[in-house]
């Protein structure tokens, strides 16, 4: 009986972080729901116990249903006929299981039939699902869209749509078009208001839409005729029950093949406005995007974990030259580094999730009452940290997922190149994570201002100030030295006041900051729990060398050489 939650003790470790007390207290408004809902927690301990019990259900479904289905789903994939999508058989089984288990709308308030879970346990479920099948995480994770409905829809819309999501209806987020990918300002799908019935009607084409045949869609469309930029775009809710949207084709992708990526044709599709006109892109998509990026981080962490497990299992079973290949330094180094990258990625994922939790809960409370000055301060602090950690985390963890999947195949040797082992699927599945919801290059664009304004450095200083056990002193010294080098190169680059040059070196600076932060997060894990010590040692050795490489590159770089790189 495989249970992906119980077989990985680091889950419990991350769930029980000290900041959870504050998060749960905010999310539960002092445990006020207990008189109204028989499944609401009585107090903090009770809430944590419930999170664990629900994660055990998730872990069991992942181990018993989703993971065993992953290979067949990858081979079969979804199909499209007469404008409608049919999921692979295994995908349908997975969906039935998560619906029966009541795992849709996990983070939604109880008054809409949700579980009112904070982001941390929700994202932990996403981490588990991704380890089982990253492609299925896309379908399951789209319940995130309910968050957007909750934040920006009116009360009537919340009451009509959110309970449907909690009951298991699926969602999609229809943003991109043939000529509007990363540049969403170019969205052309036309929304026309009909005075007679008070509805909007959508016409045009959307492309690369994950789960495009969903029950409920959030659609970005141009509501302001004659406009050309993001300020002419609004967000709409399209309900499949009304009809008007057909799936023209589904893409034949390299990976996450179970998740249907659709091209949609809107023909006078009746829709309703979500939130205010003109704020579609500039406010709602930006908010939604940060949540989606956290989801992709979870997907990357799940994949990193799966790749490590595949690599480790093969390395211990496969014998060559009379011994298991994991006994050879070249192999055990790879396996140890995979473990370290997976652990570091997971530490980053939950740190970011906690930041998001605090500020979002306070945001939500601010709709009910005025925040105290202390709460406003707290809200500001965590909102900024979430803003800084999300792009860094998404960028780094998705690259690590790719590296781990690559190494998993390498460990398998020739066998890994065959379709017989799961590692080849992981490799294909991982490849999209550093592309969608913003490429790593775009994550750097979002992260770099936190290098230049010092958000990262300030947080590193906070980590430095924590009391660590004496035996971790050497690691801390290494991290302090890394931080010093980071400060030095940042000053070196920024002092040029040359924006193009800053952009050129941006990724290296973000990565150097990330190595310090990931290292400190693992140091804190090791401080609490000896089982993280190995990964802390391995990661910091690695990060230290990476920072040295960056220092060498930047300090030896002649700005005049930029010309050689330009086409």
């Amino acid at each position: 009986m495989a249970n992906f939650y119980l077989d990985n003790p680091s889950m419990k470790h991350h769930l029980h972080h000290p900041l959870m007390k504050r998060i749960v207290e905010l999310k539960e408004r002092g445990y006020a729901d207990k008189d109204q809902f028989d499944y609401a927690p009585q107090d903090f301990e009770d809430a944590m116990d419930s999170y664990e019990k629900v994660l055990e259900i998730v872990g069991e479904i992942c181990g018993e249903i989703i993971a065993p289905n992953a290979e067949a789903v990858d081979h079969e994939g979804p199909s499209v006929a007469d404008g409608r999508v049919t999921y692979a058989k295994g995908t349908q089984e997975n969906l039935n299981a998560v619906r029966k288990a009541g795992l849709m709308g996990i983070a939604m308030p109880r008054r809409y039939n949700g579980l009112n879970f904070p982001i941390v346990p929700y994202i932990m479920a996403a981490d588990l699902v991704s380890r089982a099948d990253a492609g299925f995480e896309n379908l399951w994770g789209l319940q995130d869209c309910a968050e957007t409905l909750y934040e920006f829809g009116n009360e009537d819309q919340r009451q009509r749509f959110i309970p449907r999501v909690c009951a298991g209806e699926t969602m999609s987020m229809d943003l991109t078009e043939p000529d509007a990918g990363s540049d969403l300002q170019s969205v052309m799908l036309k929304a026309t208001y009909n005075e007679k019935d008070g509805y909007w009607y959508l016409n045009g084409v959307k492309r690369f839409i994950t789960n495009g045949d969903a029950d409920i869609h959030l659609v970005l469309a141009r509501s302001e005729e004659g406009t050309k930029d993001g300020r002419g775009l609004s967000m709409f809710i399209y309900d499949k029950r009304n009809g008007g949207v057909n799936v023209r084709r589904i893409e034949n992708k390299m990976g996450i093949k179970g998740s249907p990526t659709c091209e949609l044709v809107f023909k006078n599709a009746k829709a309703e406005l979500c939130g205010d006109r003109k704020l579609g892109l500039i406010k709602y998509v930006m908010a939604l995007m940060n949540g989606a990026r956290l989801g992709i981080m979870a997907q990357a962490v799940g994949l990193s974990e799966a790749a490590y497990r595949e690599g480790y299992a093969y390395a211990t079973e496969r014998k060559q030259f009379g011994k298991a290949i994991i006994e050879f330094p070249a192999v055990y180094e790879m396996v140890a580094l995979m473990r370290a990258k997976a652990d570091a990625s997971r530490a980053m994922l939950y740190e970011t999730a906690r930041f998001v939790d605090v500020y979002k809960a306070l945001d939500d409370i601010s709709k009910e009452r005025k925040l105290t000055p202390e709460e406003r301060q707290e809200q500001k602090k965590y909102s900024k940290l979430a803003d800084a950690f999300t792009p860094m985390g998404k960028g780094m963890t998705t690259e690590y997922a790719n590296q781990n999947a690559y190494d998993a195949i390498q460990i398998h040797g020739g066998s890994g190149f065959m379709k017989d082992y799961a590692c080849e699927r992981l490799y294909r599945d991982a490849r999209i994570t550093n592309i969608y919801e913003g490429t790593t290059q775009l994550q750097v664009v979002a992260a770099i201002r936190h290098v230049t304004t010092g958000t990262y450095l300030a947080q590193i200083r906070e980590y430095e100030a924590i009391n660590y056990k004496p035996e971790l002193g050497d690691l801390k010294n290494k991290l302090q030295a890394m931080t010093e080098k980071y400060e030095k190169i940042v000053a070196m680059v920024i002092n040029t006041k040359d924006n193009e040059y800053i952009d050129f070196q941006a990724r290296r600076m973000v990565e150097a900051a990330a190595h310090c932060i990931f290292g400190y997060l693992l140091l804190q894990d090791a401080n609490q729990n000896e089982s993280f010590r190995r990964s802390a040692e391995v990661y910091i050795n690695y990060g230290q060398a990476e920072v040295d490489k960056i220092v060498s590159y930047i300090s030896k770089f002649d700005r005049e050489d930029l010309g050689y790189y330009k086409q």
Partner: protein, 297 residues
């Protein structure tokens, strides 16, 4: 239109993954060494009951189990998946029961519950593999039985008829019977749905009286004790022999004519192997050979 369904379920030692210490020297099962689980085919039965509940609003699903105090876990597992309640038959006098005494106890409890349309359980339990308890309960209650069910296809409440797809040698057949009825379900039927997140949070503290007493003895207090008054469904009903007005002589060891003479450990092994081509000729020869030595037919 609603139905009243009783699910017979048993807590069993997990004999599917046995280690060296699974048997005691005297040949009996070493229950301490094996984790206690919900008998797998009873989970298939529970799923059939819950599907009827999905299809017939207002239907109630009640679990009935017999065992020590900790067997209340079976009832909790049922509640987590959508059952409405349960009864734990628990009494020293029930202990050591063979299939006859077990079916007597269950039938007596069912008579006390009185109002039912369908009684459904797994084909057999993995600790005894007898497949006798379901049929015996049906006989004792004097109702029709359909065994080896794969799927309940339809319940016509007006006509009081049920249609069931059942497993037979080499295929399936569709059988129809009157309500009330006893149905036993095969392991090849649909697997049971997972535990539900809301129900787990709602019922996680449900306890039987013996479990409460054990917690009280160990820690001298019951966490969230006031909730048991606020939510009566958190108290799992325990029934003794007296509660179901049973005859002690027909219960437990005294009511069990079965005597175990010896237990032998049998390991199946292939003695020799034979390689066949996929030609019709080879296959036909093999069939003839197997028919001749009575392996099949």
């Amino acid at each position: 239109m609603s139905l009243k369904i009783i699910v017979l379920a048993k807590q069993v030692p997990d004999t599917r993954n046995v280690g060296k210490d699974a048997m005691k020297a005297d040949g009996t099962v070493n229950r301490a060494a094996l984790p206690a689980i919900f008998n797998p085919e009873d989970l298939n039965a529970l799923e059939q009951a819950l599907r009827l509940k999905d299809a017939h609003p207002g239907t109630t699903v009640t679990l009935l189990t017999m065992g020590p105090g900790r067997a209340a876990e079976v009832i909790r597992e049922g509640l987590y998946r959508g059952a409405d309640g349960g009864y734990l038959l628990t009494d020293r006098a029930f202990a050591g029961a063979d299939t006859l005494a077990t079916s007597y106890a269950l039938a007596t409890a069912i008579k006390k519950i009185k109002d039912y349309d369908i009684i459904i359980g797994g084909r057999q339990a993995i600790d005894g593999d007898t497949a006798q308890v379901g049929p015996q309960v049906a006989e004792k209650l004097g109702v029709t039985q359909i065994t080896y069910a794969e799927e309940i296809l339809n319940v016509d409440q007006k006509a009081r008829r049920i249609t069931v797809k059942r497993h037979i040698d080499g295929g399936v057949e569709t059988a129809e019977g009157p309500l009330p009825i006893v149905i036993t379900v095969n392991g090849s039927a649909a697997p049971c749905r997972p535990r539900n997140a809301k129900l787990v949070q709602k019922y996680k503290r449900a306890l039987g009286a013996q479990e409460k007493a054990a917690i009280n003895l160990a820690t001298e207090y019951i966490p969230y004790a006031d909730l048991y008054e606020k939510y009566p469904y958190l108290n799992i009903t325990e029934w003794s022999v007296a509660d179901v007005e049973g005859d002690v002589a027909q219960c437990g060891l005294s009511g069990s004519p079965t005597k175990v003479k010896t237990i032998e450990n049998i390991v199946f092994q292939a003695k020799e192997s034979k390689t066949l081509s996929s030609s019709d000729r080879d296959i036909e020869d093999m069939i003839v050979e197997l028919l001749a030595n009575h392996t099949i037919g």
